[in-house]
């Protein structure tokens, strides 16, 4: 059997060796992320059926937990690794042509390490190890946000750096308390010893950790960095930050709440925060004239919706949340990638400057439209299925609170529809249709658009196989005892 640790070791080794390949030939550099992600994607897909029957637990260095570090490759981990590898692969194909300025070798190293960090976070079974990979993810994204070295980019990178560092500082404090109180860092071993968050010591530790992780996940009110960072980064990086990085934050929060602390008491508060994040994000997005800022605020909103879905905490709710993560990753990556070339062609980020794009870049515009429709939740795209599941989960859960909140979520969806339809209208129905020359995006960019669009439609029409994986992933979150017993045999 192939060891899942290769999902981390291979990209890491390639990232270290990339500068040397760069010395041999500058042109080799941009292929390495593609190779690494291709490897990861095939290995993750290969592992899916095995993991679904039984989670794989990998001991690093042969030390059994809690004394060493273990990887818990369960359905959740493999679900996220497929998403990371898939979106990572498509974005790295896109970046082969898109990234031309600056020190491109360094871009590719940082990009690859960002994905490695994300990969590590979702696979590890040790909370300090999670922190280390989280830092890899965060620090490389700080550097990549400032990659273009323009004024906006550097300013938002510094903002992101300051807020992110405070967040990771809080997480580290929380982890230190956990180690002090329970004397172990292994997630299953901690979970075994924590039965309730009633003691103040446990509650405060939990609060510190989820507040810190909430910064990266951009949950209101810790989302101030996101619109700046996502809008001034290169579009390929915006796609990764929106499509992967913030979801990893949500994953980490879910893991801490469900698996480590089993903290079901705070979930109605989390649901409320989720809906506030959703409303704030969508209403801010509605006001934007800058396409990338609009997409960035929309990411905040989507994260709010995902957090709300997780906070429902029934198996329907978690399943819907995971499905929404998948939908958001694919759609938002597609939207940012498509917007990237439209900005490149027009030289402006103003939505009004995209008039007539439907004629000028028909395929790119089509990609953008599919992404937008899927995010709004129109059938037959993937977003319809995931939003439908969220509504269903909230209504099955019942209770006045969740019914009110889901009503608010639907209002937010209407707002979302309003601003996305506005953009689609500009693309196709505004401006003169004469004298437009076709200036389509290059083929290496069209390939990711095509794959993402096909996946969005395919998952929307035929969600069966995805639901199969999501079912197992949900039970990993719901059955805390099974997780503990799986690791500490």
């Amino acid at each position: 059997m192939v060891n899942p640790v290769l999902l981390i070791a291979v990209p890491l080794g390639l990232a270290f060796s990339l500068p040397i390949f760069g010395l041999i030939s500058k042109r080799l550099e941009k292929y390495l992320p593609v190779i690494a992600m291709l490897f990861n994607l095939s290995l993750s897909v290969y592992l899916v059926p095995r993991v679904l029957t039984h989670p794989i637990i990998v001991y690093i260095g042969g030390w059994a937990p809690p004394f060493g570090i273990d990887l818990f490759v369960g359905p959740v981990g493999i679900f996220f690794s497929v998403i990371i590898a898939l979106v990572g692969l498509l974005v790295s194909i896109y970046a082969m042509d898109y990234i031309k300025e600056g020190d491109t070798g360094k871009y590719h190293v940082l990009f690859l390490l960002l994905l490695t960090g994300a990969q590590g976070v979702v696979l590890t079974g040790d909370i300090f190890n999670l922190f280390v990979f989280y830092e890899i993810l965060c620090i490389s994204s700080y550097a990549l946000v400032g990659y273009l070295r323009d004024r906006d980019g550097l300013e938002s990178a510094i903002k992101y750096l300051v807020q992110g560092s405070i967040g990771t500082g809080l997480v580290l404090t929380g982890i230190a308390f956990i180690y002090g109180l329970y004397g172990t860092l292994n997630m299953a071993d901690i979970a075994r010893q924590i039965n309730s968050i009633k003691p103040a010591a446990n509650f405060i530790t939990l609060a510190l950790i989820i507040t810190g992780l909430g910064v990266e996940a951009a949950i209101f009110p810790m989302n101030a960095w996101l619109p700046d960072a996502h809008s001034s980064a290169p579009s390929s990086i915006s796609a990764i930050l929106s499509g992967i990085a913030i979801e990893i934050g949500v994953y980490a929060i879910a893991r801490v709440i469900f698996t480590i602390f089993g903290a079901t008491d705070i979930l109605s508060f989390v649901a409320l925060v989720g809906i506030i994040t959703l409303l704030v994000g969508e209403m801010s997005a509605l006001k934007q004239n800058n396409i990338k800022r609009m997409l960035a605020y929309s990411s905040t909103g989507q994260i709010g919706l995902i957090v709300f879905a997780f906070a429902i905490a029934t198996s329907y709710g978690i399943e819907a949340g995971l499905f929404q993560i998948l939908n958001h990753s694919l759609s938002k990556a597609l939207l940012f990638l498509a917007a990237g070339y439209m900005i490149y062609r027009t030289g402006s980020m103003e939505i009004s400057s995209f008039e007539g794009m439907g004629k000028r870049m028909p395929l790119t515009s089509l990609g953008f439209t599919i992404g937008a429709f899927s995010l709004i939740g129109l059938p037959p795209f993937a977003g319809f299925a995931s939003k439908f599941l969220i509504v269903k989960a909230a209504l099955t859960k019942g209770g006045g609170l969740y019914t009110c909140l889901i009503a608010l979520a639907l209002v937010a969806t209407v707002i979302e529809g309003a601003y996305f339809f506005r953009v689609v209208q500009v693309l196709y129905f505004r401006g003169s249709n004469e004298n437009v020359t076709r200036q389509e995006a290059p083929v290496v960019a069209l390939v990711p658009f095509f794959v993402l669009a096909v996946l969005i439609i395919a998952i929307g029409i035929y969600p069966g196989p995805v639901m199969h994986v999501l079912n197992s992933a949900t039970s990993e979150f719901v059955h805390r005892i099974a997780y503990i017993q799986g690791v500490l045999r």
Partner: protein, 228 residues
């Protein structure tokens, strides 16, 4: 007003933090994992320095991650400070004083030797790759200060950095290939307190020493570059 609100928030945070801190059983042997490390370390790893065996063996994966974080910091800094075409500055550099120059030239080899000693003996005495690397980088900092006309090639530093990182991953992969575990200590434990003992610790610490040394030196070098 804002200050008062901030102070109130800080007070709440402080009060909150005292709660878990007061529950931590300082000074008792309650911590099972740590006790295992202290009592079983020498038989399990063959390293005289317990801290090192925790850092490199029991939690070697974290260390790999930490090395990566430093690598990202160095690369990220270089990408942000990147200059499209390096201009050869024709301005006259101010010479450093005779005392500084002589002192640095005298100290530089000794500092390198000391740094190398620290990381080679990581498994025997306090210290290790990170500390040794930092000492080596401080030697380069002295050279940057004193011999200002000298340029340390960032390309060469980058190659050392990459090779060292690849060594770490390769050691891990060899462990995976021979014993089935990534970062397995596949080398013999040897005799306690000897230079060649404690399995893969010396190999990894030498790699980390080179890596950290070249990274920190590279960071200083990047910050020294002038823009016109």
């Amino acid at each position: 007003m804002r200050k008062i609100i901030a102070l109130i928030f800080l007070a709440i945070l402080l009060w909150g933090i005292t709660k878990p801190v007061s529950r931590i059983p300082f000074g008792t042997n309650k911590i099972k994992v740590a006790e295992h490390y202290i009592t079983k370390d020498i038989t399990e790893t063959g390293a005289a320095n317990v801290v090192t065996s925790v850092v490199v063996l029991y939690r070697g994966f974290d260390t790999l991650g930490e090395v990566t974080i430093l690598f990202i910091a160095a690369i990220g800094l270089a990408s942000i400070l990147y200059l499209p075409r390096k201009k050869v500055s024709d301005e006259v550099l101010e010479e450093s004083s005779l005392i500084l120059r002589t002192g640095c030239r005298f100290l530089f080899p000794l500092i390198l030797l000391f740094g190398a000693y620290i990381f080679v003996h990581g498994h025997l005495t306090p210290g290790g790759g990170f500390q040794g690397g930092a000492i080596i980088a401080s030697g380069f900092a002295l050279i940057f200060l004193s011999c200002r006309e000298r340029v340390v090639s960032t390309v060469k530093l980058g190659v050392v950095e990459s090779l060292a990182g690849m060594t770490f991953v390769a050691v891990g992969l060899i462990g995976l290939a021979t014993g089935g575990y990534f970062l397995l200590s596949f080398l013999p434990k040897g005799t306690l307190n000897m230079l060649f003992s404690a399995g893969i610790i010396p190999v990894i610490y030498v790699a980390i020493g080179f890596k950290v040394g070249s990274e920190l030196a590279g960071i200083i070098g990047n910050l020294m570059e002038r823009t016109q």
